[in-house]
């Protein structure tokens, strides 16, 4: 059985203790709430999208170390990025979590700190925790007036 250090890397615990981009954004920021019915985790994502760029992001909610650190790292990773790149990152992250097929032809997207979450794959039950923020992000993106979003 994989050891717990595969799961609870120091950088994960750091984001859990000191979550980045925590807070809310006022309307017209788009907003989505995600639930993990298994454990009651909740993630809220607030998103400012201007001219196809995620200009600001804030994250709320509560939950386990994995869901919260994933949300925190995600917020860092997408802030300032074009929507198209954000979507590519979502896909890249989900394929790291082995719930979407890796896309051979996709442009290389850097995961950075997010790589630390790789170990979650060895604990299948926790994949949902790691992905919750990302699904909520996708929902917020699709409810935003992302006019510049041409990736779909």
């Amino acid at each position: 059985m994989p050891g717990l250090d595969d799961l609870y890397r120091e950088i994960i615990l750091d984001h859990y203790r000191s979550p980045r981009n925590r807070g809310e954004l006022p309307p017209p920021a788009s907003h989505a709430v995600g639930h993990n019915p298994l454990c009651g985790d909740e993630i809220e994502v607030y998103l400012d999208v201007q001219d196809g760029i995620v200009t600001d992001i804030k994250v709320g909610g509560q939950g386990c170390s994995i869901s919260q650190s994933s949300a925190s790292m995600m917020s860092q990773a997408v802030k300032g990025k074009p929507v198209a790149e954000v979507r590519a990152l979502v896909h890249r992250f989900k394929s790291m979590m082995s719930i979407e097929e890796a896309d051979e032809d996709a442009p290389e997207v850097k995961l950075g700190d997010l790589e630390a979450l790789q170990g979650v794959v060895k604990f299948p039950v926790r994949i949902k925790c790691a992905v919750l923020a990302w699904n909520t992000l996708t929902e917020a993106l699709s409810t935003s007036d992302a006019g510049g979003d041409t990736t779909r």
Binding site: H35, P37, L38, C39, P124, V125, R126
Partner: protein, 413 residues
Amino acid sequence: MSHSTLDVAAIRTQFPILSREIDGQPLVYLDSANTSQKPRAVIDAMSRFMEQSYAPINRSAYRLAAEATDAYEGARSAVRRFVNAPKVHELIFTKNATEALNLVAMCWGRANLQRGDVVVLTHMEHHANIVPWHMLVAERGIELRWVPLTADGQLDLTTLPQLLDGAKAFSFTAMSNVLGTITPVRELCRAAHDAGAIAIVDGCQYVPHNVTDVQAWGADFLAFSSHKLCGPSGIGVLWGREALLDAMPPFLGGGNMIADVRLDGFTTAELPAKFEAGTPPITEAIGLGAAIEFLEGIGMTEIRRHEMQVADYALRTLTERFGDDITIHGPTNVEHRGATFSFAFRDIHPHDLSQVLDQRNVCVRAGHHCAKPLMRVLGAAATARASFYLYNDESEVDVLADALDSATDIFGF
């Protein structure tokens, strides 16, 4: 007809109950249309699961629970494959086919049917595909129309376009549990869609005996039960197209089907959880998965071919031996029927007949087969029904015929 590829003797050894004797006579189980027997593979899968892996599903995070959840969801995948559904979350585990059909009538029906809306059924439906619609008649004043039957017990499709005109749903069986008739499902689905209606298929009798492909059919909903396809009791299946299921209100309320619950209301979970309130039939899903693997191992094409052969033999034997003394309902061409035979024998009441057959350990059902409207069409209050499955063979047709002979001795008047 090509020769059976099934080794029935070998198959029978896999069903422990079939080697049981009562009063020194072997069991001749001809009631599989009612409920089927269970192979060792299913019994063992359930025992093994309870002995080694039983745990809550979708609720707890420890490994044992993850293992049990994987097994449960694995069964869902097996069901998807078995009926070739597009998406695994379109498959809902219910308690039986009856619940599946009620779910469609209640949830799809309440969301989509108003006073005066029309639902089309057929004269050969099982009560499970009638009574839920009656309830909607009483509750919201929908109208029911009925597809009549031809003399040989097939659907009379001559007026189908008129019946479907303006209808919202067409709900029909793929195979009659009384007549054995196999209906032209693909054609019926197309006719429903042409009329702007959805197509709901009662697959209880069809799915256990044939290759099922909901996509080839173009169906919208399919209901069937585990216990008729060598799986355990206590679990049934509803398949529905994602868009329809997503648009439906939930069915039962409780754990697992919610995203959030507050003092003032609730929101529903995603599919399939949305329609699986409470602790599901966990061990039963494992058993159902094992049953599907068992049937797939033998091959649904082969099973169908075998049953056509047995059906053919039964039709020939019974008419040759009993002539006008026996009336077998339903189609005579085995292309259009399964190996389920309802019949009248002389003037002997089916209940008495079944009693006499039981003396020889021949198990047939006597009664209305949960299809009273059809019985009225047939002009019979009850029939005897012998239904054959993969573990039955021609020799049991002969035993049945011999037992019928003995009934004449008692009621020979």
